[in-house]
Amino acid sequence: MNRLPAPFGSRIDRSRPIRFSFEGKPFEGYAGDSMASALAASGQWVLSRSFKYHRPRGILSMTGADANALVQLPSDPNVAAERTPISEGLRVSAQNVNGSLEHDRDAVMDRFGRFLPVGFYYRTFMGPRRDSWLKFWEPIIRRKAGLGLVDTKAPHRHFDKTHLHCDVLVVGAGPAGLSAAIAAAEAGADVVLCDENPEIGGALTYGRYDPAILSGLSSKLEALPNLKVLTGTVCNGWYEDNWLPLIQGDRLHRTRAREVILATGAIEQPAVFRNNDLPGIMLGGAAQRLIRHYGVRPGQSAVVLAANDDGYRTALDLLDAGLSVVELVDPRPAGVAGSLEAELRGKGVAIRNGATVEAAEGTAGNRHLARVRVGGSWTACDLLAVSIGSAPAWQLPCQAGGKVGYDAGMQTMTITLPQGSVHLAGAVAGADDLEDAIASGRRAAANALSRLGHAVAVESPVTPKTIRPRYVQPIVADPKGRDFVDFDEDLQVKDLQNATKEGYREIELVKRFTTVGMGPSQGRHSALATARIVAEATGRTVGEIGITTARPPVGPETLGVLAGHHEVLERRTALHARHVALNAAMKPVGAWWRPYYYGDASSAGEAVREEILAVREGVGLLDVSTLGKLEIRGPDAGEFLDRLYTMAHANQPVGRVRYCLMLNEMGSVVDDGVAYRMAQDQFYVTATTGAVARVYADMLFWNAEWRLKVDVLNLTGAFSGLNVTGPKARQVLGALESDIDFSRDAFPYLSGRDGMVAGVPVRVMRIGFTGELSYELHCPSSLAPSLWDAVMAAGRPHGLRPYGLEASRILRLEKGHILIGQDTDAITTPDELGFGWAVSKKKPFFVGKRSIEMRARLGQTRKLVGLNFPAGTRNIPGESCLVLRGGAPVGQTTSVGYSPSLGRHIALAYVHVDDQAEGSRVTVKCRNGELIEAPVVAHAFFDPTNARQEI
């Protein structure tokens, strides 16, 4: 019904009709139509209801920048109808309506506006009760808040992230951007040109320009293989060191450009007068886009408010599209519009100078524009095209360090960028005349090229041809209001004025108090008018007021495109498949997957008990490959460990293994492990699974300072570890082909041996986390499955069982061995653990030494002890239960478990230092609040004399 014949409609394909629905009603458009254009073609101008007053709203800019034209898709809220293409069967509905778009019960809000002035919610909804806000008022407000509806059942969508590198990135493929990109590529630079529109050309595609200009630029473009064009691609931010997100549909190109040319154009600004938000009132550029891009007639009978040449050209375009232009209103004095004025008069259009639109009125329910008031008299029309000036698209330049200024004489917002790798071209730089824009593109390219080291002729700066004010934005405040400054947030002139009266005079405070500029358009259409209103209300200049900080993103971007797709990091030991084959219950521990126990979940408890029993009475096998494994090599290796760990290692004999305890500078325990001296200049050191990455980095860091002659190698993945433990461990190893003598005398506790076992080169350490006779066999990871198989086979006659992490934890708790991070916290000292034995008193220095000495002087407050819960104790505290003394918390349980070997529950806990003696009774508060008493015992609950591990 509003469709124009070709050649109007460059984006649509009339051979491909597409059916979709809006608000449940069927509509038809063409391939290439946006939702808004297809609806407008069918006479549907109202697209949404406004945020606060639920007024009908429609097309404003056709750029998709503001809330007026946001719609709801079944799984996608807040979709820009002006930009988003239609597709077959698409179901579109309006947002923020109570009922339907046509009959919105909340439209009554428009009549109550006077009861809801700016900031009203700060002054009421507080009573009558203290929690009235939470219980009564907020639920009401929350229901009214928000726009779109999120679909919590939305199907999963694929997004991906990639990287892009170029010498020059040009943002914006209008005339300035095209000319910049061509100039840069012609000089040989690797250029990327992106534009959010589906085609290149910018204003050349919808403005009143000679088509030859665009086709000339296009053909040059196509001849340049080093110029990559990304249309339909939004550059949505500028970040440090020219790091820019280019969003192309479902793909995020994280782009690194050596030079950036911003040719982002200008944002046409609306005029402010009563009812300036009625559907049918749109920016001149929107009318032109409807006509040229989509072949949609924006109305029948138009008034044009024009304060620049573009407005006059719009009027001519409207005539070409078959509209009657009732009148062109130009706030400027007569004679400034030049030849366009004569052309328009020649076509019979009345031009009224020195006047502006003072108000508008709508049809019933304000569903469409009915008439406008100019000079006190009303003129009927169904379209008001507003072309009164624009603001440079400041978002990207400001993110890149640009400063916004205001040229009062020219009534122009200006942007200045510091000298550097970001350049402006075209309207964003103030060059909005076509020839100026093209020249400024070339100049920006020349600047970028010379910074890249290309020899280029210097282009002279572009001096804009026109020097008359080009931004004449009428603000006609109306005593009755509805003179909207910010359409997203339904803010009117008086709202801003009232905010300043309350004392919110700084622009950032005005923004926060009124929410101006905080909606989906982020101030695109309101920032300039706001600055002018606040300036006038506070007696300052527009330059002094300024605009609020332009934060990224430039336009709305989905969380999906940012998040992309990310596999969760997963690490597997070389024995992973062996565990799976043995029906292990594999669970994540950090990124690692480890067997918790072997067997079905239904019999987990039984499996763990049997595994523990096997270790205590027979022999067990544990995959300890996730342990950190570090090799310290070099002439200073001993000295290095002496400085890093609390025990003495420089004097550690070759072939011996020592416990090692690491402190941080504060003297807190951060890691433990063992160090096996393989050679005079070589140690094999273990670290806890969770800490090895940090321990390794810290080792390198310390040595960056110390510069000792050592090399630190992280062998965590390269080597695997198998712990063979239990009274029968020696028999199992003895059954294997090996050049190592595993006998008690030849291979005593806390020693290490290199050799071959079952054809696998191994490093074996006699250490014990379980308290049983243990040999920890470490080997190159590719051979670990072979070694595992051999040990399993040799162990079969001895009842060897592989055991998992659950059993391991109980076994270690029965021995009172601590787990760093579980039984220690950020301030645990060796003394608090009773680890004085592990701290060398002779070494002049180790990390943390000075601090533990000082902390000892300051006084110890707590001690980690064992707690015993006799069989039959009714209430066993969980881990992290408080230990109380005189009712005050003095510590907590850190590890609690049932010991099948002892037949009772045991725990490690921090207690008051005065309660550390064995036999002291401490009070523990169970999770249900019950207080129980437990006796303090030594750490080693099982085999306190440690006889078993040394057999």
């Binding site: 596999e567 090399d711 080169p761 190159p780 590719s782």
Partner: protein, 193 residues
């Protein structure tokens, strides 16, 4: 240390840690070279010993060639030798090193610690751009260059091979890495569908 009769099993082999995880092929191809011969030295004395064997050492982060081996200089005292195929020279160097007396540097155990995968296929560049943030355009990253960087969000060493990019990374993350490449390949197929 020679391995007598024991069988070596690498992640993507039957019984390996990533057993069952498929390496993608199609527009993007991932292949496994982990079992190929490698030998690396690291730490004080490494460079001098290798140089004394007549192996020319390139600058740090560059690749040299020597008798069918690639010589990767990962640091002043961190050198990795790679061979595809039999790797006779590499085996000789390894044997000589084991027999030699110190100072001779220390083994870096890269053949055990790092998986070695090769990315290739018609959509190689697109796949690599998805996996790695580095500028790997041919004019910026040549056949003799090494990048110690991040690929698929984990630390890795990458360099060009005639067929594509070779990637060395933590062997325990093999299954994860193969899944990450497969995911990127899927996205490429979908984006270009």
């Amino acid at each position: 240390m020679a391995a007598g009769t024991a069988t070596r099993i690498y992640p993507f082999m039957p019984g390996g840690a990533a057993d069952g995880i498929k390496l993608v092929s199609g527009a993007v191809v991932l292949s496994d070279l982990t079992a190929s011969p490698r030998f690396g030295l690291k730490g004080c004395g490494s460079a001098a010993w290798l140089a004394a064997q007549g192996i020319p050492l390139p600058a740090v982060n560059r690749i040299g060639k020597h008798h069918g081996m690639q010589v990767l200089r990962l640091g002043n005292e961190d050198i990795l030798l790679l061979a595809e195929g039999v790797g006779e020279t590499l085996a000789e160097v390894k044997t000589a090193w084991h027999a030699a007396t110190a100072p001779k540097g220390y083994s870096s155990w890269r053949e055990e610690g790092w998986a070695w995968l090769r990315l290739s296929g018609p959509r190689l560049a697109e796949a690599m751009n998805g996996l790695c943030a580095l500028d790997l355009r041919p004019e910026k990253f040549g056949p003799d260059d090494i990048a110690q960087t991040r690929v698929g969000h984990i630390e890795a060493v990458t360099f060009r091979s005639p067929a594509g990019f070779d990637i060395l990374f933590d062997i325990t993350a093999s299954a994860y890495f193969a899944r990450s490449v497969a995911a990127v390949a899927t996205h490429i197929d979908q984006h270009n569908a």
